[in-house]
Symmetry: C2
Subunit: 325 residues, 2 copies
């Protein structure tokens, strides 16, 4: 815990505001938001005491800014900002699952190339500290399988179909109205969003970068009222399950609607909640569950990453290639 | 990561061997077991390369030993060793739930009194990193409730009663034969063991030391075959559930057999597995599950504490009273 750190924040949407609110509640933390880069500086906002700009370089080139927190939607812009920040010796926190998931080869290179630290807990599982757990707690154990519910929108939709006997379209509309699904829900319901997250987890579990092409993703769009009813009659539920499994040198990755029984740890995970189970050779199966999205849980995951950076923490996947532990 | 550290290990039973085995698999860690203190040095053992002694002072007074790892059964002796080690400037890892749970007021004092660090992840939940999670991830959020299955023996017994239609005595005998329950099972089945663990978690969640007297503990001995059968007919299970809840200034603590339905996250936790759910105001409910006991999971929890010490980590509950973060 050294000198007070200055933060440059990209994005002031749902997660950005959650991070700002959470940080305000912890005045003892030696870090302050110095500048915020947004697309439109003229919009009315909370956070009047903050300095807003629409020029990324005001943050990236400012030698006084120690830490960049990247919470924007645009994956291409995010990648550029994160790369520049790391190159300029700034530590970086990102919540961009698409950018991290799509760019894992670069991320792996950044980890080994730059002294600065890049953390992205909020990119997977919202408030569940799963990247940290897999990277730190399980990294030195052999992981054989990761299986979970990694997409809150899909789980919310299937839960509402199950509980109200709705069809997919009606449940999707409800999820959109309540803010649990995007206007364009394709990334979520198709399994692509969950695949990105699984790629990130697999990278930290296995230390290897897998490609999106290795995935077998099946949309939940084709789940019918009848499928759900049949499942219910058997005492089961249909859940959006993402799995990556290693058998010898063979790796299989799937994201698909799956029939789940009450003795399965995913059965009780309803609505927008996420859960992740990790099978390890030494210490068996570990499961973690919680809110997978939302302003405050995700903002709190970003805040945890900030504390880790203030404490000098880096991912083991990075350290492996550089120093001892 | 500085110089190579020397470890003094107390105890070479199940957990001690698990720790030793796990540490051997991580030769990159800058720490080695220097001396082991056991009751009987004349017994044949694995670990021929180790130096065994029956004199605690050979470890506690050796200025070359940096870290004491305490993995013995005797809570009174453990307390003495841990206190002496901390006073002598050594960092300490303990897995002794009875000692930590019974001595929380002293533990709290030790945290603030001594520069040296005391960690005890393995005292609660075996391989589940729950003390660390509650202390680090949740400490700055308001925790409202902790609920879980914290005793593997009780859960194993109730699971076998449920699955095989056995009565308590038969299931207990089976648990003892398979090593999932002690010869004297009172601490486990009465709820006292789970109460100790809950006390430790509550201390890290609320930053307060509660007394064992605040607990309402009910034994699982009185659960009958008929109770289990009735539960099954309703599609439910009976689980050994420990709960601590805060409502305003009111705290309630219970450990008792509880009727649990499939939508409850504890329903799928069978046999010797443990699970813990933490309700927070900001980020909702977090659940973690995994093997609650056993040589390797617990040994691996001790190893994680070792890594934390090597990285300079201390509990926030300690830091709160001393430094900023």
């Amino acid at each position: 815990m050294n000198k007070h750190k200055k933060i440059g924040l990209f994005g002031f949407g749902t997660v950005g505001k959650g991070f700002y609110e959470n940080l305000k509640k912890q005045p003892h933390l030696p870090a302050t938001i110095e500048k915020v880069c947004v697309k439109r500086v003229d919009l009315p906002r909370i956070g009047h005491e903050l300095y807003f700009t629409d020029n990324p370089d005001e943050l990236l080139l400012d030698p006084d800014i120690d830490i960049i927190v990247e919470l924007i939607d645009d994956a291409d812009a995010a990648k550029k900002y994160v790369h520049t920040a790391l190159r300029n010796g700034k530590n970086v926190i990102s919540a961009n699952k698409k950018m991290i998931g799509e760019s894992l080869s670069e991320v792996d290179f950044w980890h080994s190339e730059f002294e600065s630290t890049l953390l992205y807990e909020a990119a997977v599982g919202g408030g569940i500290p799963i990247v940290h757990a897999i990277d730190g707690f399980l990294r030195d154990q052999e992981v054989t399988k990761i299986r979970g519910i990694l997409n809150g929108s899909s789980n919310y939709i299937l839960t509402q179909m199950q509980q109200n006997n709705w069809d997919f379209e009606k449940a999707l509309l409800d999820a959109q109205n309540k803010g649990f699904a995007e206007r364009n829900p394709t990334l979520d319901v198709s399994g692509v969003d969950a695949s990105y997250k699984l790629l990130i987890l697999a990278y930290h579990a296995f230390g290897e970068v897998f490609s999106m092409n290795s995935f077998n993703a099946e949309s939940i769009e084709n789940v019918s009222k009848e499928n759900i009813k049949k499942a219910r009659l058997k005492g089961k539920k249909i859940k959006p399950v993402a799995t990556i499994e290693r058998l010898g040198s063979e790796i299989t990755c799937t994201v698909k609607p799956e029939l789940v029984s009450p003795n399965d740890e995913l059965y009780s995970i309803d609505f927008e909640n996420n859960a992740i189970s990790v099978d390890t050779l030494i210490s068996g199966k570990h499961t973690a569950a919680g809110k997978g999205a939302g302003s405050l849980p995700t903002g709190s995951a970003v805040l945890e990453d900030l504390k880790r950076i203030l404490n000098g923490f880096s991912y083991q996947v990075k350290k492996e290639s550089k120093i001892l532990i």
